[in-house]
Symmetry: C2
């Protein structure tokens, strides 16, 4: 099931990029370089799985699934820039700006964000699902990826670099920086399927739990993993004197928290009538991942 | 009329920014710094005027008007960055990144783009105009501001810096870099009002003509104006060995072209039944501006 969905996502992402040869071809190449780079596609998968769970053909949520991946990709491109995290590598390959230059990298992030909103407001979407639901899903994405969502979380992260942060700030940061886009992914799947508020809220709860667990696992892996396993440098958090769940709570407490959050994510799925195995398995696999 | 609309735009723009005090307050301050900086507000004004011209209350188009201004503002913030045009001043004030740093400037551009799409997909919009029209207007904005629109135009501009470009490239660049967002502004006003294709096409034609004329006037002012008048350095095009309409066609031919384009913009308004004076006057004032 997930394998089919993964393939569906890869194909659709590629097809949403303009095809042909354009004067601004470099821009399209740069967008493709980061978009088609073998990411885990967790966010789009969540969108499809929640749409299916709410009783609708997952294909109807495909534009929204691809949009959230485009948003995620643009944020990675901008995050890696010298004026931000200054990372030369991403998923074991040179960062976008190392290949295309900072100017094109900035613009390709910008264009990926536009493309995300273009594909979820298209005539195709308006003819497939109710325009009212399409608008609501687009609004959900915009809200979670913006000033008080993902981008806001980035700012909180930047402002606490090299400073000790307390657990409250860390939670707010991760809620926005990581969990917000995961919430958008899950909620959009439900909204596209026309689910009621109870189900949308359950999706939010699931997303919150796996989102925070995801970030804690990241922090754990940064101290327990090797750079070969992760495809990026390890130990960077402590090197940057950055407060993490591990530095604030210790590794055992972190592992316990991941378990609790994963349980809570799986419990949140109880309100759904259909089979929730795929989403429960996904929560478990994210908790137990080693890269 | 326009004065009222200008005021309406200023108030709405300010109100769309999150109010209160947030952990990521710096981001909001940075967005406000560039958004509330006394720009001419031509694009949002066009949206309101076309909505009214198509027989609908201009207020209904206000979220779309503000959205296009947010997109315009984000593009200016990113354009001014050191990795792009490296401009220290904008409208006589320090550029966003000079005040807030490159990291916050990047993110505040990103968040302004998200906010643009957030406000035009809101429940308020869905309750005010038909969700189908709202989707179509949002799609129009996304399409014109993205990879084959405004951002694409930026890339063409960057790639021809320090190189002689021919008139074909210059036209494609300006069609995308400048005219695309003006098209979005005009078309959205019509779409919100539920106008038919003939009227939307006329708005596109008007936008194309004033958009190209606008760019040619920019090129003329760069050689004929003073930096006090413009609020930015003059002569930068020839300094950067940049091909412009003036360098390729000479100043007399340019002035003639501006006149022709303005006439053509005004002619395009003929299909509308209502009074087109405000839009005709706007076309003339843009052609005759000195800053």
């Amino acid at each position: 099931m997930n394998t089919n969905y993964q393939l569906m996502i890869e194909t659709a992402l590629k097809n949403y990029l303009p095809s042909g040869v354009f004067t601004e071809q470099t821009l399209i190449d740069s967008m493709e370089y980061s978009l088609m780079c073998g990411g885990k596609r967790i966010r789009p998968l969540l969108t499809l799985l929640f749409c299916e769970l709410c009783g609708e053909d997952a294909k109807k949520a495909l534009p929204f699934a691809c949009a959230v991946e485009m948003i995620h990709t643009y944020s990675l491109i901008h995050d890696d820039m010298p004026c931000m995290d200054d990372d030369d590598y991403r998923r074991g390959k040179p960062s976008n700006h190392k290949v295309y230059g900072e100017d094109i990298a900035t613009l390709s992030g910008d264009a990926l964000q536009s493309l995300a909103f273009e594909i979820i407001t298209s005539d195709d979407v308006a003819n497939t699902i109710s325009p009212k639901n399409a608008l609501k899903a687009a609004n959900t994405l915009a809200k979670y990826c913006g000033v008080l969502g993902m981008v806001g979380g980035q700012v909180i992260d930047i402002q606490h670099e090299g400073k000790k942060a307390d657990i409250t700030i860390l939670q707010e940061m991760d809620e926005k920086k990581t969990a917000a886009l995961i919430k958008a992914s899950c909620e959009m799947g439900c909204i596209v399927a026309g689910a009621d508020e109870e189900k949308i809220n359950a999706a939010t709860q699931y997303a919150h739990s796996i989102g925070i667990a995801f970030q804690i696992v990241d922090d754990i892996l940064d101290v327990t993993s090797t750079s070969e396993q992760l495809g990026k440098p390890v130990g960077s958090d402590s090197e940057n004197d950055k407060s993490t769940y591990v530095s604030l709570l210790g590794i055992d407490k972190c592992r316990e928290l991941v378990k609790e959050l994963t349980d809570s994510a799986i419990k949140a799925l109880r309100v759904f009538d259909n089979d929730t195995t795929a989403l429960a398995d996904l929560a478990l696999s994210l908790a137990n991942r080693n890269n």
